[in-house]
C-alpha cells in the first residue's frame, strides 16, 4: 500500500490547492493596500471594509437581495415539502415524472429561461415584465432541483414511507404523521437545501439583470457595477459574503442538530 501513497496524496493536495488559491487571494486582496508584481501584498488595511459598510447603496442592495431570495425560498419550501412528501408516500408512481420536471431547471440555462419568461410575460395577455414578481417566480423555478434533491434524499434516508405507515397505524392522521414524525427528521435536509438555494440565488446575475435590472439594484448588480471602480472593494464584498454564509450555515446546522437527532445526508 505504501508506494502509491505519495502519488495519491499529491494528487489530492493539488486539487485542494487549486480550489483554495482563489479564496486566499481574494481575502489578501481585500485587506491589502497595494499588490502589484509581488508574491504577497505590500501592506494591510481594513479601510475597504469600512468604506463598504458605510455605503448606503450597498446596504440597500443587500436588503433587496435578501428580500427577493427569502421570499422565493419560502415559497419553494412551502410548496415543495408537502408536494415531495405526498408524492413520495402516497403517489410513488408519479415520482419519476416529478423528478424529471423538477430537474428541468438544471437543463435550462439561466439566459434561456430569462428569454422565455420575458417574452411570455411582456407580450402575452399578462404583463408582469419588470416587476420583482417575475424574478421571484423565476427564482422559485431555479431552486427547484436543490430543494427536490435535498428533501427527497432526507426522506429516503429516514425511510419516510415506513415511518408514515407506522404513524398512521398508531392513529395519526396524515397531517400529524407529517408534522410529528417526518418534518422533524427532514429538518436538517430542508435547512441544507435552503442554504444551498440561497447561495445560488445570491449569486444569480443574469435573471436579475435581464428581468428587473434597470430599476431594482440587487447585490449582484451592485457588485458588478462597482467592480470596475475598485478591486479591493469587491474583494471585501466577496469576503464579507463568505463570512456571512459560513456563520449562517454554522448556526443553522448547530440548531438543526440539537433540535432533531437524526442522520439525514
Amino acid at each position: 500500500m505504501k508506494p502509491n501513497k505519495v502519488f495519491h496524496a499529491s494528487l489530492i493536495t493539488i486539487v485542494m490547492i487549486y480550489l483554495f488559491i482563489p479564496l486566499v487571494a481574494t481575502f489578501l486582496y481585500s485587506i491589502s493596500t497595494d499588490w502589484y508584481r509581488t508574491i504577497l501584498p505590500e501592506g494591510y488595511t481594513l479601510s475597504w471594509y469600512k468604506e463598504l459598510f458605510t455605503d448606503p447603496r450597498f446596504l440597500d442592495a443587500m436588503q433587496r437581495t435578501l428580500f427577493v431570495c427569502f421570499l422565493a425560498i419560502c415559497i419553494s419550501v412551502t410548496v415543495m415539502v408537502p408536494t415531495i412528501f405526498i408524492v413520495t408516500v402516497y403517489f410513488s408512481r408519479w415520482e419519476r415524472t416529478l423528478q424529471g420536471l423538477v430537474m428541468l431547471p438544471y437543463a435550462i440555462p439561466g439566459v434561456v429561461a430569462a428569454v422565455g419568461l420575458i417574452k411570455l410575460y411582456s407580450s402575452g395577455p399578462i404583463v408582469l415584465s419588470g416587476s420583482i414578481w417575475i424574478l421571484i417566480g423565476a427564482y422559485f423555478v431555479i431552486v427547484l432541483p436543490y430543494m427536490y434533491q435535498g428533501i427527497r434524499n432526507s426522506m429516503r434516508t429516514i425511510d419516510a414511507i415506513k415511518l408514515v405507515e407506522a404513524a398512521e397505524l398508531l392513529g395519526a392522521s396524515r397531517m400529524q404523521a407529517f408534522w410529528k414524525v417526518i418534518f422533524p427528521n427532514i429538518l436538517t435536509g430542508i435547512i441544507v437545501s435552503t442554504l444551498l438555494s440561497f447561495s445560488t440565488l445570491f449569486g444569480e446575475f443574469v435573471l436579475a439583470n435581464l428581468l428587473v435590472g434597470g430599476h431594482y439594484e440587487t447585490m449582484q448588480i451592485y457588485l458588478i457595477r462597482r467592480m470596475s471602480e475598485s478591486g479591493h472593494l469587491t474583494s471585501a464584498i466577496v469576503v464579507t459574503y463568505f463570512i456571512l454564509l459560513f456563520a449562517l450555515s454554522g448556526i443553522v446546522m448547530r440548531l438543526g442538530k440539537s433540535s432533531s437527532k437524526e442522520g439525514s445526508r
Binding site: I158, E165, L169, G171, A172, Q176, K261, E262
Partner: protein, 343 residues
Amino acid sequence: MSYVQIDRLSKRFKETTVLNQVSLSIEKGELITLLGPSGCGKSTLLRCIAGLTEVEDGGKIVVGDTNITQLAPKAREVGMVFQSYALFPNMNVYGNICFGLKMKGVKKEEYKERVERIIDLVDLRGRENSYPHQLSGGQQQRVALARSLVVEPKILLLDEPLSALDAKIRKSLQTEIRRIQQELSITTVFVTHDQEEALTVSDRIFVMDHGNIVQIGTPKEIYAHPASEFVARFIGNYNVLKRAEMVQLVGEIVMAGDAFAIRPEVISLVPRGNEASAQSKNGWSVESVVRSMTLKGNVIRYEVETNHQKMQVDVLNTSDNHWIRVGTPVFMRIPAEECIPLQ
C-alpha cells in the same frame, strides 16, 4: 363466528397474482403465523389487513363485528411491527411508546401507568430516555413492539420482526414475543419464512405458496402431517419417497398415495445382530450403512444408505447414541404409522 374473518382477498401487481382469493379466519387471542418462501404473498396479506395495501373488489376483512375493508389504517385499530423497526428517530423510547396514545387523545395522567407497565413488560426499564440509534437491534424491536401494544390494538401484526437480528437474539425474542402475546392474550398475525420460528411461536400455522394458503393447522399437525410435498419439504427435513422408491425400500405396501413423507427423527437406528428388537412393532426394518454424520447441536443427523436409497435420520445427541459412527452397519427401523402419504 371467528374474531377475524378474511374472505376472498385478491391482489394483483401488474401481471403477477400475489394473493389469489385468500380466505381465512382467526380466533380471538390466537397467534397465527403466515409461513412461506419469499414471494408467496404473506407480507402482502399482512399489509392488506393493516390497510397499507388496497385489496381488489370482492375481498372482505372483518374484525370483531366491524367490516374494516374500506377503513383507513388509522381507523382499523391494528398494531404493526416492521422488520426495519420503523422507530421515530426524533423521539426517545418513551416518546415512541407514547406516540399512539397521544394521537388517540389519551390524557397524560391516564396513560402514564399503562406506559410504565408496558415498559416493564418488554423489559426496557432504564432505557426510556435513549434514542433509537443508541439501541441494539433487539432493543429497537422491543420498543416497536411496546409502541404497538400500548394502544391495545384489536390485532397485532408482525412482519418478519426478527429477520434482521442475530440467531441468538432472534431465538430469545421469539420466546419473549410469545410470552407477551399470551400474557395480554392479543390476537396476533406473525409473518415469517423460518419454519422453526413458526413452529415455536404459533397456535396455528398457515402455510402459503404462490398466493394461496396450502395448509392450515397447529404446529404439531402441520409438522407431523404435511398435506403436500411442498409443505413436507418446507416445514421440516422430510425424506420424501415416490411410491416406487418406497416399494423398493420396504417391499409391497397397502397404503394409498403417490408419494410418502417420513420425518428423519421417527426413524431409529438399531445395531445389526439385534434383529429381534428391530422387528418388534408395526413397521419395517431395512438393512443399511451409515454414510455421514453431522452434528446439529442437540441432534445428530446421519445419512444412511440402503441398496436403493439415501435416507436422513435424526437422533438425539446423547452418549447412548455414540455407538453410531460413519461406516457402522445398522438396521433402520421405520414405523408404519409415521409414513405420511402425500397427494
